[in-house]
Amino acid sequence: MDTPDCCMDLNGTTRMAQAHRTTLTGIVTTTVILAGIWWLIVQGRADAWLIGLPAVALASWASIRLGGNELPALSPGGLVVFTTLFLRESVRGGIDVAQRTLGPGLRIEPGFHRYRLHISNPAARVLLINCIGLLPGTLAADLDGDHAELHLLDTSVNPDQQLLQLEQAVARLFGLTAETSDD
């Protein structure tokens, strides 16, 4: 598990983004976001706060307790880029898997593939790992240090280019500078 520091391109910015972990601002932001979500779910019904207030309080407590209280500032430009990529890849991923499974004779060649992650921010990694499963043909099976163990539906297609594109979009969303030069 000794990862050489030279490969962690984004460490500096990551630490800055994590600086306001478990601070008062972090707690307030988490609570406000969760209260907003509750308000949306019940469509503004006032009497629902009877259940909503304890639920929001418990959810905030759980969120902070589990250490997920780092909310790095998201970049608005990055959000646009990420959302566009996410929607496009969702459509491509869905169509790709439908074509492969509905066609006569399954056109698959399953296998595993290792991909080195460039981002080290934990929140960004969680988002990346989850989104990899929505790209055409890839699924993140495990994380081994800085390498993601991916399952591919079709090993004859190299996914590295689309993975890098996704990773850069995630990095931009979290305001991390993606220096993925050494690949």
């Binding site: 949306l40 469509q43 969702s90 898997v97 499974t101 399953p110 989104c131 699924l139």
Partner: protein, 94 residues
């Protein structure tokens, strides 16, 4: 016009759900099945929700539907990853 567009989106959504379920039955192993489920259902639910949102014409309901989609996405992507991870760890014995 809105009704037609909404129906097309909902039907397309149902189609992808069907494709995901057929994939679940036809594909040979656990990992490949997870591919079919997560990707086809993500797109299927997205289209279904877009179709329903068009019908509602109420911004709050649209936002709520968007929230539903995002929550399901987060849950299904996370559970797919965890299932794959568990299977992989059992296979490789680590």
């Amino acid at each position: 016009m809105i009704n037609i567009l909404s129906s097309i989106l909902i039907l397309a959504g149902v189609f992808f759900y069907l494709a995901g379920s057929i994939g679940l039955l036809r594909l040979p192993d656990l990992y490949s099945r997870l591919h079919a489920l997560t990707k086809a259902d993500n797109l299927g639910l997205g289209l279904l929700i877009a179709g329903v949102a068009l019908q509602s014409q109420d911004l709050l309901i649209m936002l709520k539907l968007l929230l539903v989609w995002l929550s399901v996405l987060a849950a299904s992507a996370t559970s797919a990853h965890l299932i794959a991870r568990q299977a992989r760890r059992q296979e490789t014995g680590s």
